[in-house]
Amino acid sequence: MTSGTATGTEGLALRDPHTPDPTLDRPADYLHAEHTLRSWFLTTDHKRIALLYLASITAFFVIGAVTAGLVRLALVVPDGQVFTNDTYNKLFTIHGVVMVWFFLIPSIPATFGNFLIPLMIGARDLAFPKLNLASWYVFMTGALFTLVSVVLGGVDTGWTFYTPLSTAFSNTWVVPALIGVTIVGFSSILTGLNFVVTIHTMRAPGMTWFRLPIFVWTHYATSLIFLLATPVITVALILLIMERAFHIGVFDPAYGGDPVLFQHLFWFYSHPAVYIMVLPGMGVISEIVPAFAQKKLFGYKFVAYAAIGLASVTFFVWGHHMFVNGQSDLASVAFSVLSFAVAVPSAVKVYNWTATIHKGSLKLDTPMLYAMGYIGLFVLGGLTGLYLATLAINQHVHATYFVVAHFHYIMVGGTVLAFLGGLHFWWPKFTGRMYIEAWGRISAFLIFIGFNVTFFPQFILGYLGMPRRYHIYPPEFQFLNILSSAGSTILAVGYIFPMVYLVYAIWFGRRAPANPWDARGLEWTVASPPPAHNFLSEPEVPEMPYDYPIQARETGRQHT
């Protein structure tokens, strides 16, 4: 057993987390270093860029959430009286496009990753700070194109842009939306490139690979997916734009092209993209759980290897989106078994977190509540993914509400809850202020309950056979749909709460100490908010990560 010893120069705060740290004899923190608008929009400080991302993705989350609310409103009645079919189709398309490409994919990496990776590995910034700023501008340019397509009248192809509907049949603004999504891909690539190089080259003395926090490991794995999968969707989208603008014919059966080829290229990216959303969330939870159990993460090396392993295997399962699309049966079987091979190891991560809590010293503060909610929802999402990977079940529930429920459990239950948990965990670090704990707990409960009431009925709807993307649906499904819509109102309230009290805390919250949670990790050794150049002197890392007071003695090759 080793007790936690603080490293770096700000270690004082570790011992008494509730003493406000002295703020006078310090260089200005990154928030107060400069005040001009220019100092924000032309900043190369990874922490400020992270906040730029945070503001933009929050705006997109609001757009995505409002359209989701309208979709749920429409589905209260079965006969499609609320909107026209076209409007409904545009609403769910905007919801999907905005949530997937402009919220979920950048959510944790571009905000927390940007802010925390240099702090966690003891670097002064990312390797390429200007590139980092450029990637935000690239992101906003892509977003602008997509918003233009929405303002002009919207898109109705679904976020998956399947051909030939998207190329030859849709009469909506497909090309600007596609250009937007293509550009955003480059933003992801640049972010991933920056992370990979930073993690490889910028680690502080003593920060060996197996002293990296799991958060850094999962972001490393995510960055590899950014680098290896994003270019494939970029080229698929370029071909799609060319197809729609010049009728080049590659996806057009009229000329002998193959519409299913697009699905292959699309899912070759978009299945790994699920892990772009999931892995960073796992990283966040792997930081929160040990901090609030005051105990070392169970099976650190396994979790680290698993992140890399998952990121690799996930490239070989894209075909499970096409079991009923005329793919060869043998290919389907191979994709099915590989999907089992990737889903089970991700789901059993939950055992690691449970084992971490075992015999810990638990504080059930807001981040921990979110983390526990995450574990519950993620398990359900992961296991229903196994149902979908089972060929015979997939034949029935493919493209029904079962799928909708499944991926919302993964994406909302997984990514959004981890995002909110991380936001509460690191908010004091970001802003130097504490939020009001009671409100945080209430919102965590509301979101957990609201989410389940919204999406659990959709599993049943799907098994009953209600297809997804249906504006008009058979009346026998109305009860469950109303239940789901009712749940979404609870969920909405749960989302609004943090937006209010977290923003309120920026100005009126109690000042946060450097380490309010008594957590380990280099980011907690610097002041809250951190100084502009992160570390006043270069930190040295003498010990393993998760150096908490309670250490299970693990045999095997855990302590190397």
Binding site: Y162, F169, V337
Partner: protein
């Protein structure tokens, strides 16, 4: 049983041995997942209470063989779930190997209707009548975008692709009326691309083939689907952006033509105006913009469309829309 009779159902009806086995598969899988997860949920809750900060509890950390633990809790669930992979793959292969004596139905998906053709030549729109106790194979293709034929009661679906044929087969064992859907998003009226699957005894099926049209409300009901599928309403519905003559009450009325003649809008007139709208120009002040449907609309669809225009339903629906 009419599918709309069920106000709230929690388990869907099934009508084939494969469908029943799929249900068993998912139930058994659910049992396994509960075995794997309920302990976790119980443990998390229990630990949260027992080991909360300040609570007196034994926090002695015993030696734990973490490598062994890790490998076992990764491998054991994986191997257990593989049972379901094999079971699912077996069912999948059964559903792929159609017997040689299967009744072959040709299905065509188009925006936004289904057309099914029986081996004896009869065809129907959106609704499908099939016999039970006999293997049925549906061979399908699409005329435009990708659709998917989904028959929940048989726990089956298959995409229809524009450039090739796909198929699914089953042997139904229970009669009744159930839903069928398009499950692959296909544009504006995707959610209207559904219908009823009626499973009936072989004797009833034979009788239906003899007298089919009467059973399903005549050609006119199917004609409404044709009317929507060819987007006639984009111009002809009241309030449409492109102003075209209203079709309400047209059948049987006298129409004045540009050359001064007055002709009755009989069946021959309706057919001629659909196939070749530039002939027989109307006297009224309309721009002649309608495309010719000769070689576009198949003869049987034209029959349905004309039947719809002749029917009282068309008159009512056209007038009901404000």
């Amino acid at each position: 049983m009419n599918p709309t009779d069920l106000a709230l159902q929690l388990w869907p009806p099934s009508a084939s041995a494969t469908a029943a086995e799929t249900d068993w598969l998912i139930l058994a899988f659910t049992v396994l997942t509960l075995l794997l997860t309920v302990p976790v949920f119980v443990a998390i809750t229990w630990f949260a209470i027992r080991y909360r900060q300040g609570a007196p509890a034994n926090r002695d950390q015993s030696e734990s063989r973490s490598v062994l633990i890790e490998i076992s809790w990764m491998l054991i669930p994986f191997l257990l779930t593989l049972i379901f992979f094999v079971w699912g793959a077996r069912l999948f292969f059964i559903s792929k190997a159609a017997p040689a004596d299967a009744l072959v139905i040709e299905a065509i998906g188009r925006q936004w209707m289904w057309k099914f053709q029986h081996p004896t030549g009869q065809s129907e729109i959106n609704d499908l009548h099939l016999p039970i106790g006999q293997p049925v194979k549906i061979r399908m293709t699409s005329q435009d975008v990708i659709h998917a034929l989904y028959l929940p009661v048989l726990r089956m679906q298959m995409a229809t692709l524009p450039d090739r044929y796909t198929e699914l087969w089953f042997k139904a064992d229970r009669s009744g009326t159930f839903r069928l859907y398009c499950s692959e998003y296909c544009g504006t009226d995707h959610s209207k691309m559904d219908g009823n699957l009626t499973l009936m005894s072989q004797a009833d099926y034979a009788a239906w083939l003899q007298n089919g049209q009467a059973l399903q409300g005549g050609l006119a009901g199917a004609g409404r689907a044709v009317y929507e599928s060819y987007a006639c309403g984009t111009c002809h519905d009241p309030g449409a952006v492109v102003r075209a003559p209203s079709l309400a009450g047209l059948y049987g009325r006298e129409v004045r033509l540009a050359d001064g003649r007055t002709v009755p809008a009989d069946e021959a007139y309706l057919r001629e105006k659909i196939l070749n709208p530039n002939r027989l120009k109307l006297a009224a002040d309309y721009k002649q913009v309608m495309p010719a449907f000769r070689n576009v609309i198949p003869a049987d669809d034209l029959d349905r469309l004309v039947a719809y225009l002749k029917s009282a339903g068309a008159q009512a629906q056209q007038e009901a829309v404000p």
